[in-house]
């Protein structure tokens, strides 16, 4: 490769990678959390995890839950009822508030509401991942641009590293100079997980692009067709009391399980939708009172369902989802290290100049602030959100507003802090270490000690503690170095 081509590729890689990296880091981080959306919901609402042994779903419970669903529908709320599953052992009578799913949790055996308030929950991260909480077309546009940038960055990165791809596959030099160490980490993660990143990135971009196309040219509905919302507002729904248990039995026969399936109104009927985790490709098959069996369909009916299956991995087992989550975090490491490398090389280029103008210096400070707010601010805001769901909200504010406001407020503050202070990273690391290390204590203090899902709580606490310890070790490193 000629030095000229190399410098051009490097320029592209850096200047596409850094701005896109801000969004890609958010997407990777929230995507990793979205793998465990129901579990996060349960952690934030510890009362819904019940006591061991977990009670199974009963017919009377389902009837009672169905009654409550009907009430909601008749009151004009477009709600749906999700059935209990091993991942989330309660009924969820949810409605969509424009960003996230909200609603009470019902006991699987009685169908009565469980104590606890609404929390942003796991779907908050799903929403953040799918459209960054931005208004409808803009979220998709940003993600498509960032996804395309990811593919471009991966390709330029691969081209730059092509000659040393195989010889340096497992190269990491912990004793090397700082920039070399970060580069090693960046290349190590990048080259090893290149195929996975490419597939995840491509499938995510395709999904969002499809959404954009749909928004640009909405499907034409024949006259007389009523959308779900129009239908529900037309007349009160009349559902016989035994419809839900009957449909659940039919679903059990059809699919073998209805755990994680959901009841939703379609037209004047109530349908039972198949669980999302049934097939590799997402098939929203539905049973109604009049159609209690459905003919077998091809495994992957559309390209969209195939891409969805590839990207969401809802069908996958727990271990695979864990590894998927870890791969997403590896993506965070790659993007984070890339941003740090960008920052260092910009700093180095300034160091060679004899005079540095104020504009250049403030631009550099801006890059550093963006990096800090992305790499530290987002995990900090996430941990703060976790904490706020367990702590009482200020009485003047609705809890949900307070929790979401805290998340975005803290994230914005992190950016602001990094803009005005040179030592922002250290302080934010310290705060992150405190929150991470204290999560276990908070968890034990704010939930009943005996729970039906001890592993869930320990896993979340352990992850938070890992973050805390990592931050603490980074903080203590200079002190340790000085002492040796």
């Amino acid at each position: 490769m000629s030095p000229r081509l190399r410098s051009i590729l490097r320029l592209f890689h850096r200047w596409i990678g850094f701005p896109a990296g801000v969004f890609l880091f958010i997407l990777c981080f929230t995507g990793s959390l979205a793998c465990f959306s129901p579990e996060i919901q349960d952690w934030m609402q510890p009362s819904t995890t019940l006591h061991a042994p977990l009670p199974p779903m009963t017919s009377s419970g389902l009837t009672e839950a169905g009654r409550r669903l009907k009430e909601q529908l008749n009151a004009g709320h477009f709600a749906f009822l999700r059935l209990p599953s091993p991942r989330d052992p309660v009924f969820r009578l949810w409605h969509y508030d424009g960003h996230i799913f909200l609603g009470p949790a019902l006991a699987p055996d009685t169908g009565l509401p469980l104590p606890g308030r609404d929390v942003p929950g796991g779907t908050f991260f799903v929403t953040l991942h799918s459209h960054l909480y931005l208004p409808t077309p803009w979220g998709q546009v940003v993600i498509v641009v960032a996804g395309t940038a990811l593919l471009a960055t991966l390709l330029t990165g691969l081209w730059l590293q092509l000659r040393r791809f195989l010889p340096d596959l497992l190269l990491f030099r912990p004793h090397a100079a700082r920039q070399r160490r970060w580069l090693d980490l960046h290349l190590l993660g990048g080259t090893l997980s290149l195929p996975i990143l490419f597939i995840i990135g491509l499938s995510g971009t395709v999904l969002q692009a499809q959404k954009l196309f749909q928004l640009a040219s909405p499907p034409h509905h024949p006259s007389g067709h009523a959308s779900r919302h129009q239908a529900q507002s037309a007349a009160p729904l009349s559902i016989p009391a035994d419809t839900l248990p009957t449909l659940a039995r039919a679903g059990q026969q059809q699919w073998g399980t209805v755990a994680e399936g959901f009841f939703m109104q379609t037209g004047h009927d109530l349908s039972l939708y198949a669980p999302d985790n049934l097939h590799f490709c997402l098939q929203r098959q539905a049973l109604t009172a009049t159609h209690t069996t459905i003919p077998a369909r091809p495994l992957c009916p559309t390209l969209h369902s195939l891409v969805l299956g590839l990207h969401n991995l809802r069908w996958a087992g727990l271990t695979t989802r864990w590894f998927y989550c870890l791969s997403g975090l590896l993506g965070c490491i790659i993007i984070g290290s890339g941003m740090i490398l960008f920052l260092q090389s910009e700093q180095n280029s300034l160091a060679h100049l004899s005079t540095v103008s104020i504009a250049q210096r403030s631009l550099q400070q801006g890059y550093a602030a963006l990096t800090t707010a992305t790499i530290l601010g987002l995990p900090l805001a996430t941990l703060a959100l976790f904490w706020s769901t367990r702590l009482p909200a200020p009485s003047a504010l609705p809890p949900l507003l307070w929790e979401e406001g805290l998340f975005f407020g803290l994230w914005g503050l992190s950016l602001l802090h990094a803009c005005v202070s040179r030592h922002a990273a250290t302080w934010q690391l310290a705060l992150l270490a405190t929150l991470g290390a204290g999560t276990t204590g908070l968890d034990l203090l704010t939930r009943p000690f005996h729970t039906g899902r001890p592993l869930l709580f320990s896993a979340v606490d352990a992850l938070a503690t890992c973050i805390g310890i990592t931050c603490l070790s980074v903080l203590l490193r200079p002190i340790h170095k000085r002492s040796t």
């Binding site: 000659r163 040393r164 010889p167 340096d168 596959l169 497992l170 190269l171 990491f172 030099r173 912990p174 004793h175 090397a176 100079a177 070399r180 190590l188 993660g189 090893l192 997980s193 195929p195 996975i196 590799f280 991995l313 069908w315 996958a316 087992g317 271990t319 695979t320 590894f323 998927y324 870890l326 791969s327 590896l330």
Partner: protein
């Protein structure tokens, strides 16, 4: 869960086998498997489909994804967790400490035993704590000093280049680029061959003499030491830049390594294919960053300004032909692996990183290396002969005022017995700067030194 553990183990084996087949300077494998062979290669290739099939049979589609996810994560964890072996190009302080304990460095003998590996790491870490190993030790007088046993006046003006064959016969270059055989008994110079083009740098090896000529056309010549016949002639291609001047060269079995002090860079020539490549152009370690000091005074130019030592001037090859030592006249001494220069998969950044500062030195008038990898240097700042061996102990072997004017040094085999001798070329003492005007002559001298 069980499948993921199986897959991670299989991937660990695959990655370790992959690491094992890398060249030693790239290997990050703490468990030295038997040297890479065809069996390992086939095993590695076989394990990939085997693990994929196992994953699919045990867990279906889930297994396939698990297979794909465990690969990068296992590799990533391995790369972070595996102890990073002492990079051969970087004398890490632990290694230095270890070296100061034992004169011979055993190659990193790593067995498939984590116990040994841990023991090595623990002991190396323990040794790394000793502060003495980190610093350059000061030069100390040797218990037994070297002696100047003879001095000959040379009849012809010589360039600052001396080299001797493994049997000890020295060769010298005239200021006009003529090649002379030097008789160490009386300092008599014999022209080797009149028809040779003017030579700018010379080295003598077991394969004969290797010389660089820059006019009429730059080329590397292999010359028979007894007859002066040109045995081989390799062009430089485009490996020279404007202002290039090759100051020194070293030759291994199939590569020639040259240093360019006109436009600082390394030039590597493949002796088989004749391909010449210019590397590490303008690397900082190839240029002097300090004034050249002779007899305690900065050497000045005609305009009265301090002279720097110029660019890289000395280049030596160790006995194993794995390491090149190079330096400018003012030091410090650097070391780089020959494989670093010949491995085409390495980039400039890695090569620069592999240029290892080996030791600070004073201003030098010559440098030579023996079969046991001891470096002999003539310190023109203090008029000393210095020795620095593989044990990294710095010895001052001799002080003599004549050494202030040293220009070149070469090994000589002892004429009597096994004692090694050195030949040092000294320039005529300048009349204005002369310490002893009586000894001022216009001729260079050859000093013969017997090593202790």
């Amino acid at each position: 869960m069980i499948l993921s553990l199986i897959l991670m183990s299989l991937w660990t084996i695959i990655w370790l086998l992959y690491l094992n087949q890398l060249p030693a300077h790239r290997r990050r494998n703490p468990c030295r498997l038997p040297p890479a062979n065809a069996l390992q290669k086939y095993l590695r290739l076989l394990l990939l489909p085997c693990s994929l099939t196992t994953a699919y049979l045990l867990n279906g589609l889930d297994g396939l994804f698990l297979w794909a996810f465990t690969a990068p994560l296992t590799g990533f964890l391995l790369a972070l967790i595996l102890p990073y072996p002492q990079h051969p190009n970087r004398p890490h302080r632990r290694e230095l400490a270890k070296r100061s304990q034992s004169p011979q460095i055993p190659a990193m003998q790593i067995r498939l035993s984590s116990l040994l590996t841990s023991a090595f790491i623990v002991s190396a870490a323990f040794l790394g704590l000793s502060p003495a190993a980190r610093a350059d030790r000061p030069w100390q007088d040797a218990h037994v000093q070297a002696q100047i046993t003879a001095e000959h006046e040379l009849s012809l003006p010589l360039a600052t280049s001396l080299s001797s064959l493994p049997d000890g016969s020295p060769f010298a270059l005239g200021v006009t680029g003529k090649l002379y055989r030097l008789d160490p008994v009386d300092g008599h110079l014999t022209t080797l061959m009149d028809e040779l083009p003017p030579i700018t740098a010379l080295t003598a090896t077991a394969q004969g003499l290797w010389a660089v000529t820059q006019a009429p056309k730059p080329a590397l010549l292999n010359i028979a030491p007894d007859t002066g016949v040109i045995l081989n002639h390799i062009g430089f291609g485009s490996a020279l830049a404007v202002g290039s001047h090759i100051s020194a060269l070293q030759v291994t079995d199939n590569k020639a390594f040259l240093v360019d002090d006109g436009a600082p860079a390394f030039v590597v020539i493949d002796l088989q294919s004749g391909h010449a490549e210019r590397l590490l152009e303008g690397a900082p370690s190839l240029s002097s960053h300090a004034p050249l000091i002779r007899h305690g005074q900065p050497v000045t130019t005609a305009q009265g300004q301090s002279r720097t030592g110029g660019n890289v001037h000395f280049l030596l090859l160790d006995h194993s032909k794995n390491w090149l030592f190079y330096q400018t006249p003012t030091g410090p001494l650097y070391r780089i692996g020959t494989t670093i220069l010949t491995d085409s998969s390495l980039g400039p950044a890695e090569r620069i990183e592999a240029m290892t500062n080996w030791r600070r030195t004073p201003s030098l008038g010559g440098m030579a290396i023996t079969r046991d990898d001891t470096l002999y240097m003539v310190d023109i700042d203090h008029g000393d002969l210095l020795a620095f061996g593989a044990d990294r102990l710095p010895w001052r072997l001799l002080h003599d005022d004549r050494l202030y004017d040293a220009q070149a040094i070469s090994l000589l085999k002892g004429r009597t017995g096994a004692q090694e001798k050195l030949a040092i070329l000294t320039e005529p003492t300048a009349p204005t700067n002369g310490v002893n005007p009586a000894s001022t002559t216009n001729h260079q001298h050859l000093l013969e030194i017997t090593l202790p």
